[in-house]
Amino acid sequence: MKVYIMCIVQSLFLIIISPLFTGVLRKIKAFLRGYKGSSILQPYYDIHKLVGKSRVISNNSSFITVIGPLFCFAGAIGIAFFIPVFYTNALVSWGNILVIFFGLALIKFINSLIGLDSGSTFGGMGSSREMFISFFGEPILFILILFLYHETKTFNTFYISFLNSKLLLYSVQHIMAGVAFFILILAENARIPIDNPETHLELTMVHEAMVLDMSGPDLALLELSSSIKFMIFLTLGLNLFLPMNMASTMEWIPIFISLAFYLLKMIAALFAVAIIETSMAKFRLFRVPELLAAAFSIGLTALTINFFL
């Protein structure tokens, strides 16, 4: 019973802290670029401001605009309950890794329909590009899940991170798979070099273009769900590939150590994302498949090493 409560608590923690991580990421980027930047609590203020506003919807919009943001946010919350954050256990029976990634596809699916819903050109553009990119993302995901399965013989994320947290040395193939997953994170969450989340330029329109016609609380829900999705991806990346010092007992000290390590690792991962985002330009859309093909090859190599050597 205690275990289940702990799982729910850590997921709630992830949901609540997600905007803070977005704020931290912006702060790091500002620091790297040499300006002061907004407070790390700014995403919360933004959400508060948006929720207070009234809704403006397009006269072409349909039920997708009405229920889409709710389903997006509900999907993000639902998936947050399926992943280990800073506590893991070998006994948890839910948390199938395929359910997690397909559940996150719900957000992508609703987002791309929202893009088409208002009948604007930009929305369609974003939607089409999002689907295009995810077409290349899926095989990488398959390879990486297969890799993890082959390494640990389970599909349960809690169990995978439990087993991997006991690893003392990371093998070459493990690190390679981690790198491939990192590229996948950037692609699935519309970060540079695949998409630029900061601008509304036509060239960079993938994620931002789809939510162009959303306003007020709807926009808040969508922004929150994509921020939670990003943090779920990063947390998964850390807990599947680098889960050292994760707590697996119900004692206070390991949990605090694990929480501290989790925060540190998250900040390090955000720092890596920030470095990529400040030092690279966005790729042309048609060069994205090349990047993803590279990630695919890395994953495939990792799998081959694990399988045959």
Binding site: S62, F73, F102, L116, G119, S120, I145, L146, L221, F286
Partner: protein, 584 residues
């Protein structure tokens, strides 16, 4: 008499046919002005009876009789709009393909008779050990080609994208939802009759055919503008996935890993059931669109939600299911299929089979993402945005019986997804019967789907209460779509169906025969996109050319007199008998 496999497919047929039947009552009203509805009902009746007959047959003669009856009645259903040149052409294509399928199956049953000396299935099972590997391989390759031609495996698929748009939508739904599954049933029946070991290459062929079908069809589906052509290619993709999964199950059976084989076969059966449900649903919504907007070309559609809300919501459910979005049924089977291509592969000791299995898994994962692309395009371009064409939309043509039919299928779609952990336990028994193992343990896939569905429902309920129901309901401001400062947005400025799939075509255009043509006339540039089915273009057209050359030569000895024709028939029969008895 009736075993688990037949019972499963019988339930599948009945469960899907009933809502389609309810839908047909309203849908065929439109046809009653021009065509004979009684004829359609009669043919549909024959069609359904013959499908059930195929499933219940216990001898190969009865099987072939009902199989041919099914082919013939479905041909007459395809050409209901007989006054259209295109329909007749598509119908003839279908007729030929379905007879090639029948011919291959006849050959297969002929070989089975030759090897075992009986037509009765129960006796064949007892005698299967008498066959050696090569004889088994002959039977399975013929079965794959014969049943594959009926189900739409590449390269025998080109009748699907022609026959489905030509037929009325309720017929397409029946053909795609149910008839293609009869092909799957047939293949499984042969597998059940001959549970022995095949050469390993046969398993690889089955799996790779499935993988190639999935990838080729989904890329072709992506570029279609006609909703029903798109759905037809997507059916072919799903059949590829089902056959590939069956191939894997057969391979595990070969390795004598009965639990793994049972899991994989359950995945294939679940996908057959789920595909029958959601594809029928999508075909029915396409039919409703066609009735109301009198077009099934996406370039003339768009914004249909405002006119036909119920249809749009049903189509949304079907779209989400085919995109494998949890907690709908498409997800349940996609989840099991991908799991089965990952699980247990480290037991496989043959290196090239590992390679085949991983390749298939990657192909099916990509096909899954591709089907989301296709489904979002289909739903988004048709129902969302602004109407592109200038035709009137008459939503009164969507009668309540049509709505009821689509509604029932939508409920199935949701129910089979949420209840998947329990459904697989039942299906596991069917796989156990097919693979011939008696295991008391049940299949456990975890209750994640149901848990996720529950959390989703609770969260959406709470959010709805906070953001939609309680406050500010009158505070919503309805305004024009934001055009980024540009205020003369026109319907044709939206993303079109061609534009939506264009990025993918820039990368995969060579698979779909994609070409762009730019013409200039009076200061205006016209850009048109063209696609063609490469297999049809390069292989079928060549065959047709050669055939017509031969036919011209043969026509010299044809005089149109019935007596000479009878002579020819008997001579060829005699020759055939000599060939068969001496050389085969």
């Amino acid at each position: 008499m009736i075993d688990e496999l037949s019972l499963f497919f019988l339930i599948l047929i009945v469960a899907v046919i009933i809502p389609i039947g309810i839908y047909s009552i309203g849908y065929l009203k439109e046809y009653s002005e021009k065509y004979s509805v009684r004829y359609i009902y009669f043919m549909t009746f024959i069609f359904i009876i013959s499908m059930i007959g195929v499933i219940l047959s216990r001898t190969s003669i009865a099987f072939m009789f009902f199989w041919e009856l099914m082919s013939a009645s479905s041909f007459f259903l395809v050409i209901i709009e007989y006054d259209k040149q295109k329909t007749i052409k598509a119908g003839i294509m279908y007729f030929i393909m379905t007879h090639i399928s029948g011919l291959l199956l006849m050959l297969m049953f002929g070989f089975i008779f030759k090897y075992t000396g009986t037509f009765v299935f129960s006796q064949i099972t007892n005698l299967h050990q008498a066959l050696d590997e090569k004889q088994m391989a002959v039977i399975f390759i013929l079965a794959l080609a014969g049943f594959g031609a009926k189900s739409g495996l590449v390269p025998l698929h080109p009748w699907l994208p022609k026959a489905h748009p030509a037929a009325p939508s309720n017929i397409s739904a029946m053909m795609s939802g149910v008839m293609l599954k009869i092909g799957v049933y047939g293949f499984l029946r042969i597998f059940m009759l001959f549970p022995g070991k095949l050469p390993m290459a046969v398993y690889a062929i089955v799996m790779l055919t499935g993988a190639i079908t999935a990838i080729f069809s989904i890329l072709n589906a992506l570029v279609q503008d006609d909703i029903k052509r798109l759905l037809a290619y997507s059916s072919s993709e799903n059949i590829g996935i089902i056959f590939g999964t069956i191939g894997l199950s057969m391979f595990f059976h070969y390795l004598e890993m009965s639990t793994a084989a049972g899991f994989v076969l359950t995945a294939a059966l679940l996908h057959s059931l789920n595909h029958a449900v959601f594809k029928s649903l999508l075909f029915l919504t396409a039919g409703a669109v066609n009735s109301a907007a009198s077009s099934k070309n996406m370039h003339d559609l768009g914004g249909l939600y405002s006119k036909m809300k119920f249809t749009a919501i049903c189509a949304f459910v079907g779209t989400a299911a085919i995109s494998a979005i949890p907690p709908l049924n498409g997800f349940a089977s996609e989840f099991m299929i991908l799991t089965s291509f990952m699980k247990d592969i480290d037991v496989v000791k043959t290196d090239y089979m590992v390679f085949v299995i991983v390749t298939c898994g990657i192909a099916f994962a990509a096909a899954g993402a591709g089907s989301m692309y296709v489904a979002v395009k289909n739903f988004g371009i048709t129902f969302l945005g602004v109407h592109r064409g200038n035709r009137e939309i008459d939503s009164s043509k969507i009668t309540s019986s049509m709505k009821l039919g689509m509604g029932i299928l939508s409920v199935y779609t949701i129910g089979f997804g949420v209840a998947a952990p329990w459904i697989v336990k039942i299906l596991y028994r069917v796989s156990g019967a097919v693979l011939g193992f008696k295991e008391t343990s049940t299949l456990y896939i975890g209750y994640d789907i149901t848990i996720f569905a529950t959390i989703l429902l609770i969260c959406v309920g709470i959010l709805y209460f906070f953001f939609r129901a309680s406050k500010d309901h009158d505070e919503i401001e309805i305004s024009d779509t934001w055009g980024c400062g540009f205020n003369r947005l026109k319907p044709n400025m939206q993303y079109s169906s061609g534009g939506y799939s264009q990025p993918a075509m820039k990368v995969f255009g060579w698979v779909t025969g994609y070409s762009k043509e730019i013409r200039k006339s009076n200061e205006t540039f016209h850009i048109s996109q063209k696609v063609k089915d490469l297999i049809e273009f390069h292989i079928y057209n060549r065959i047709i050319e050669v055939t017509s050359i031969i036919a011209k030569q043969v026509s010299i000895i044809q005089h149109g007199r019935i007596q000479t024709c009878i002579v020819y028939i008997f001579v060829s029969l005699a020759v055939a008998m000599i060939i068969v008895s001496k050389y085969l």
